[in-house]
Structure formats: C-alpha cells, structure tokens
C-alpha cells in the first residue's frame, strides 16, 4: 500500500476529497451556465457565520454552517425572485453580512483561533470520522437530488421561461438548487476552505466547457477533471508537505490551462 493510504486521517481526507470532487462540478455546471457562480461564494461566507456560531455555542461547526447556509440560501432565493434588488446586490449583502456576523461572533468568543483558520483555507486532514459521515451523507443527498431532477434542471438552465411555459415548477426547483449549493459549500468547506470553494465549482466546469460536445458530456468531463485535481492536489500536499486546499485549486488551474492549450493546438 502506498504510504499516502496507510494513515487513517489520509483515508478520511481522500474520501471527503473525492466526494466533494464529484459534487462540486455537478452543482457548478448549473451555476456557471446560469451566471450564478457568485452564489457559491456568498453561501460560503454565510456558512462562515454558521461555523463561528457553532464554535461559540459549542456544537459541531459543520452542523452550524449547514443550518445557517441553508437559511441563507432560502433568503437569497427569496430576494432574487422578488427582483426588487438590482442584479447581484442581494448576493453582495449576504456575502458581506455573513462575514460581518462571523467577525462579530469571533470577537465575542475571544478572538481568532486555529480552528477557524482551517475553515477559511481548508483542513482536510483534520476531517474526523463524524465529519466524514456528514460529508458523505450530504454528498449523496446532492447527487441523488440532481439525478432525480436532471431533466428539469437542464430545461431551466437552458431556457427558464421555456421550462416555465411547459409547467415545470421553476421557482421551487430554483430554491432547491440554491439549497443544494448550500449543502455543497458546507461539504467543500472542510476540503478547500471557504475562500477557495468557488474554484472547485467553477474551474473544472470551465475546463469541460472547452471540450464538451453536449451538456451531459460537460458534466462527466468536469467530474473527471475535478477528481483528477483533488487526487493530484492531495498527493502533492502529502508528499511535498504543502497546503491541501491550495494544491487542489492549483491542480485544477493547471488542468484548465492544459485543456485550453489542447483545444488551441487542435484548432
């Protein structure tokens, strides 16, 4: 067995990493194509408030992040549908609001601590057994929901109005998608950290878009690129002793550059 698989903390880290490697691009493809990539970033900052509240209250911070991010997702979607705020203003309010709550709560709890740093930049090797179960449960929930509503999500992504005219419950599914983004963000938080989450949702999809010949193939190619980035990043992190979150995102960027060059070479 290679050294990287001999430690139980690395086994847990790899399982968590592979799960996020699958679900991030699956959700990301819908966000990127609908120009909603910023929602992931926003919910990540809202989740940070949940982490801080969880740490303060002494409950599992991942659970705190989950609850607060889900509530934030519903709030964002309500504001977006109401349409009273221009463009991305709603997102900006939630993004900075989440960060503000986090900063205040951290101050109340007596300052910045090491735990919080892990949530900002990822601490995948610190994934505990109970975190792993939560991550796997959330990941399976996200994948199963997308599988069930795949054709509706495609129809809405391609032409929201056309889907509405067909009787597809667009508003309900939009809300569902936003909640799925919240779940994905909470899972990704442990792996790459809040500040790097949108990279995992966006970069593999952006790479896949350069080579895919259909929507379905975009999804599969993005998942393959994302898994490759997670594995490469974690291997590099283990053997070179560098930060896992950063290594994963950098691997994804290298793969993105690679597909861009390959496409240019072919043309």
């Amino acid at each position: 067995m290679p050294e990287i698989l001999q430690y139980s903390f690395m086994q847990r880290a790899l399982l968590a990493g592979l799960m996020i490697g699958v679900i991030a691009p699956v959700i990301g493809v819908f966000l990127v194509l609908r120009r909603l990539s910023l929602i992931a970033d926003t919910l990540a900052h809202v989740a940070l408030a949940g982490v801080a509240l969880g740490l303060l209250a002494g409950v599992n911070p991942v659970l705190g992040a989950l609850v607060v991010a889900a509530v934030g997702a519903v709030g964002i979607e309500r504001l977006r549908v109401a349409g009273r705020l221009f463009g991305e203003a709603a997102l900006a309010i939630f993004l900075s609001g989440g960060l503000a709550v986090a900063v205040v709560v951290i101050g109340l709890s007596g300052g910045f601590n090491v735990d919080l740093f892990g949530y900002l930049f990822g601490a995948i090797t610190a994934v505990q057994a109970r975190d792993l179960w939560l991550v796997l449960g959330l990941g399976v929930t996200v994948l199963a929901t997308v599988a069930v509503f795949y054709k509706e999500l495609f129809a809405i992504t391609f032409d929201e109005e056309g889907a509405r005219v067909q009787g597809v419950p667009v508003d309900t599914l939009n809300l569902l998608l936003t909640v799925l983004v919240a779940l994905t963000v909470v899972v990704a938080m442990r792996v790459v950290g809040i500040l790097l989450i949108s990279a995992l949702l966006v970069i593999p999809v952006a790479a896949a878009l350069r080579i895919a010949r259909s929507f379905r193939s975009t999804l599969w190619i993005a998942v393959v690129i994302s898994l490759a980035a997670v594995l490469a990043g974690m291997t590099a992190s283990f053997y070179l002793n560098i930060a896992a979150g950063g290594a994963i995102v950098l691997s994804a960027i290298v793969l993105f550059a690679g597909t861009s060059l390959a496409v240019r070479g072919r043309a």
């Binding site: 509503f149 054709k151 495609f154 109005e161 067909q166 009787g167 895919a212 010949r213 259909s214």
Partner: protein, 263 residues
Amino acid sequence: MRTFERSLTVSAATDPPIVAEVEHICVDYGVARVLDHVSLQVRRGDFLGMIGPNGSGKTTLLRVLLGLLVPSCGHVRLFGTDIREFHDWQRIGYVSQKAVAFETRFPASVFEVVLSGRSGRAGLGRRFEGQDRAAALAALDTVGMAGFHDRLIGRLSAGQQQRVFIARALVHDPDLLLLDEPTVGVDLDAQEQFYALLRALNRDAGKTLVLVSHDIGVVAEEVTQLACLNRSLVFHGSPAEAIRSGALAQMYRAESLVVSHRH
C-alpha cells in the same frame, strides 16, 4: 367560465372552437399602459399573425397568453379553461425570442435541446423514456433537421437553430403553437423555409399558430388571420379585410413613424 362554455356551444355550428381567448386585457408597467382593454379570440386552425410597431404590446400579449405575465385586468382562457386553473401546458408550444438570441456557447447538443421540450410532459422527477427520444428525433425530422441531433446547438446557423427551437416546441405535440419574432437575424432563404414549415404545420398537421412579428408585409401574405396591435387592438380579421379597411396601411405608417423617429 360557465358563460364561456355556453357561447362555445352556440357558435359551434358555424365556427371552429376557440382555443385561446383574452378579454379586456390591460397591462401596466409602472404608470405606462402597454395593453389597453384588448380582447381577441384564436380559433382552432387559425394562423394568426400579430403585428404592430415596436412597443405596441405584441410580445406582452403573448406573455399574457402564456401565463408569464399576469394582466392588471381582464381574463385569459386557454382551451376553454381560465388560465389560473389551466394545467394542460403540453397543449401549447412556445418559440421564444430566445431562439434567436441565446447564449451560443451553451454546451448542449441539438438532441438535448429538443428533448428538453418533453420535460413537462414526461412528468416531474421522471426520466425520459424511449418514446420521448423517438418524439425528439421525429420533431427534428419534421423541421428538416434529421441527422443534426449530435451537433452542438451553438455551432449551427441562425436558421438551423431556429428550426431546432421549433422542433423543441413541437416535440410534446401541442395543438397551439406561439412564436415570438422568430425571423429576427435569419437570412432570407431560411425565412422562406421557415414560412413553408409554418404553412405545413398549419394546413397539414392542423396546428393552430400565433405568430408575433414586426415584419408586416411578409406576415400579411402568409397568415389566415391578422391582429393589428397598437396598445389596443386596432384590427382583427383576414388579411384581405385588413387591406380593404386600411388597417394594414395604418400599421405601415405607425411602423415607418417609429423607424423615422429612430433615425
């Protein structure tokens, strides 16, 4: 609703049934009234051209018919049912303006685009089945795009894309097809093919068509019914009557006024 059904039985002996009807529709955007007490009936087998200058409310009226916009007053009935209680959306096909102005980098194959037109019919949360795939291929065949199913939608010409969008609107076999300015940005050859396709759908396949267009001359030649809109309904009848009554000339003047105003 009850009174409507009565009127339907009275007129059934002479006219085909009404498939879509608006009654005293008003739409306001802020303080501006875009549609002012418009009443209009579409009967089965009609090929209705809805024309009018820019800002005359054509697209707005179409959106009201589709339930995308709730009017500030008036009633909408589809196939005899008040729109608020209407759920049989498979009977309606819609080709939106998006058909000519969509994101061409969207990674979807022609087949995926057409198949997505079956989303409502297949049922929420259900997978597409063999019959859905067969219907998608048949719809592509109808619009003369068989063999293009695995091509990226963004790589096709504007005219080809337009035909794919019509296939998507036909794939769930609607009785009523609504098209919003579908010839914008399409070259003349493709336009001719497009109108030939609409003629075939109307005459041979028995579809009821509503075509919104600013292209007054072409539309007047193709359709069986004309509705001239300029915030209120100026005229509704056959193209020949439109010419006789001077309504068509009035529409031309209104259009040229808008055009000269813009230059």
